[in-house]
Symmetry: none
Amino acid sequence: MNESQQIIDHLDARQPEIVEWLKDFLRIQSVSADPAFAPDMREARRFLIERLQQIGLANVRLLDGDGEPAVYGEWNGAPGRPTLMVYGHYDVQPADPIEQWRTPPFEPTEVDGRLYGRGTSDVKGSTTIALEVIAAFLSVRGGCPVNIKVFLEGEEETGSPSLRTIVARHRTLLRADAVLSADGGRASASVPTLNTGARGNAQLEVRLRTAHKDLHSGRYGGSVRNALHEMARLVASLHDAHGGVAVQGFHDGAAAPTERERADTAAFPYDEAAFFSDVGGSAHGEAGYTARERVTLRPALDVNGLWGGYTGGGGKTIVPCEAQAKLTTRVVAGQDPGAVIRAVLRHLRQHCPAECTLDVIAITDGSPASTLAPAHPLVRAAEAVLERETGARPIHVRLGASVPVTSIFKETLGIDTLMFGFNLPDEDVHAPNEFFRLQSIREGTRAWTLLLAELAKYSPAAFHAGALE
Amino acid sequence: MNESQQIIDHLDARQPEIVEWLKDFLRIQSVSADPAFAPDMREARRFLIERLQQIGLANVRLLDGDGEPAVYGEWNGAPGRPTLMVYGHYDVQPADPIEQWRTPPFEPTEVDGRLYGRGTSDVKGSTTIALEVIAAFLSVRGGCPVNIKVFLEGEEETGSPSLRTIVARHRTLLRADAVLSADGGRASASVPTLNTGARGNAQLEVRLRTAHKDLHSGRYGGSVRNALHEMARLVASLHDAHGGVAVQGFHDGAAAPTERERADTAAFPYDEAAFFSDVGGSAHGEAGYTARERVTLRPALDVNGLWGGYTGGGGKTIVPCEAQAKLTTRVVAGQDPGAVIRAVLRHLRQHCPAECTLDVIAITDGSPASTLAPAHPLVRAAEAVLERETGARPIHVRLGASVPVTSIFKETLGIDTLMFGFNLPDEDVHAPNEFFRLQSIREGTRAWTLLLAELAKYSPAAFHAGALE
């Protein structure tokens, strides 16, 4: 701990400079979704390359996948020690609706210990934490406890469209034993948590036809099948009266939550009433589970969009011939998302009358759920750090949402990811008045320092699946 | 017949000019449902006013009811003879889905004796027939066999929302003995038919909400109500497995078909298999009735449009908070359309879970079904003309479609309407690739010439209900 304490003291002394650097980073309007911000995206890359070079990383460069390039730099001075890819992203969500911001979205503003601005919480704040810890190790001790490959993506907010291409083109360069992600934050402000997985997903879009064309409801009404009636019957057949999925095979492979998972879920401070009332929603779902269990430990099936017939102003007296629906599943550990989405399609086909035509417009196998085993070095190291820092054993939590980059790194590089960002759930990410707690910078730089030191205790082989069986 | 033959010869010689004028009329994009077409609606009125003045009608003007005004003109040179209101409409249905048209919807195109374009069949073609017959009488003989009041509506396709106001404001001007409508066409290409009634209708649009905003399907999926699932359950509950309406009170007041109605329906040349296969549709409806009976003698309920969630390209992982649906009913003789549509609304409210919000976006009482007695001069005159032209006794048929104007004229002016349009059932009205047979213009101008002459044989009083008892 003495070595780490030296780094922590250094980082504590540098807090004002760290905040100033973060503010400069936040002033760059690196909105990836809007081509109007292309010059700002370039400026963000220039800014990061300069910093990675200052820090003393080697091989600092852009990795291009025909989209927004990633910024890369490495330090390979710890032979025999694990190699950790440190992931962050430099792109941010658009700032609109701008009129709802109380401070300018791209002029970071401190108010009562909070730093307001677009990208503060998602995820320039936590990315800065990770970079500053590496900088501190290199500056104070001339080296890190583990080998480091910094990978800063520029397309996280647009769904990482070129990430697979980047990895495919630079597979050797990116070889590592695991990923430490600055994205994916703490789940609670009151208790320490550790993210051990996320649901996977898959997608289906279908079109149902009942006739060659829309029919006049005066001439045909009452005598002929209506595509919207048929689609409604199909969609209604997907769930039971409680909201559980009624599709045969849908739950195949989904292991029942373990006692530990249920206990951890119950231990997580979670206001179920507020979860629904905050958004005006109401509970509905698989019988036998709490809302939090349903969202994190059980699969789900949602129709995300449905349309057919006349949708303009006024009325149009037609019997619509066509209806279309977009569906997505969320799958849990043990499930094959491709098999799950095909079970949904099989159900639709079985329930579709022979007189109707059901066409698949799109079907994607998606990504399986991700899971970090309790014995994984990433989990054990993070638990050790969090317990030391907070005095409490961290609760294992799983994300209901899917994390594409985690799936992509697992699929393409075969490595697992620990999400170790320091944002908190109330920080209005993707919304006006996003903020990051300044205190989180101090907590984050301490924790990342300890984490790198802790991870150095494991052999590189220990990070790979085989070692965990 | 000699006098009439002179008019018919004149009209035959003018066919090319009549078609050219109709094409100019069709090029005007007079879509009443969409405010974007307001300038085209004005242009259609200007175009018709010019023509009515050319024809030699008096008192040509717009009749305003705070919606789209009607175009009016009159000829009152036959004192003691009946006064016929000649009804047509200058508005058309929207052209969407535009990509399914093989020719531009507003550039009328002749292909193999058919004129393609929005409004050709419904109902600019038959409106032109009526106007040209009046023009021919005035041009060739300096007068018509009966008094004429031309009334061209601009809101037929939107359910005639201001027609009652127009009639109320101009009750004296519009006084007549009966209505000859260019709308409501021939029921068969092979046998003469005579329209003796139509279904009524009513309309409902509802919005269902399950939350304040669309929710992230990762964070909420599986735990919360989804507006599209709920709307699908509601819509699915409206019909039984055979396609019959399952709404309590929906059939209230609907008289069972009479023996004559069932016999006429059976006598009508009707290829049930072709009725469905022509449009790729399949039979579905109330048990105990043939398809043709279902369409003409029984009420119906259709969802005309339904939408919610994400409907753009690709996917979006949301739990939609809102779904909307447009519904219309068709009602038969004896039913109160307002009571029927409120039964549908009551059903939706009863089946909507308490946790969801169901809002009525629009509800219109619509129009009751209409019926012409067999002894009415309109029926007898039309029977005489059709029998003379075809050599066969016309079969009485009822329309499955609704004709609100017929109900409104009956209710407000106390007069009956003969539908004498010359469109045919396969002409894709309200759909892409609508067309009108050029041959129908010749047949229609002949028949309208004979009909006006025939109607002149009756006293004005003979047209009124009391005379028929």
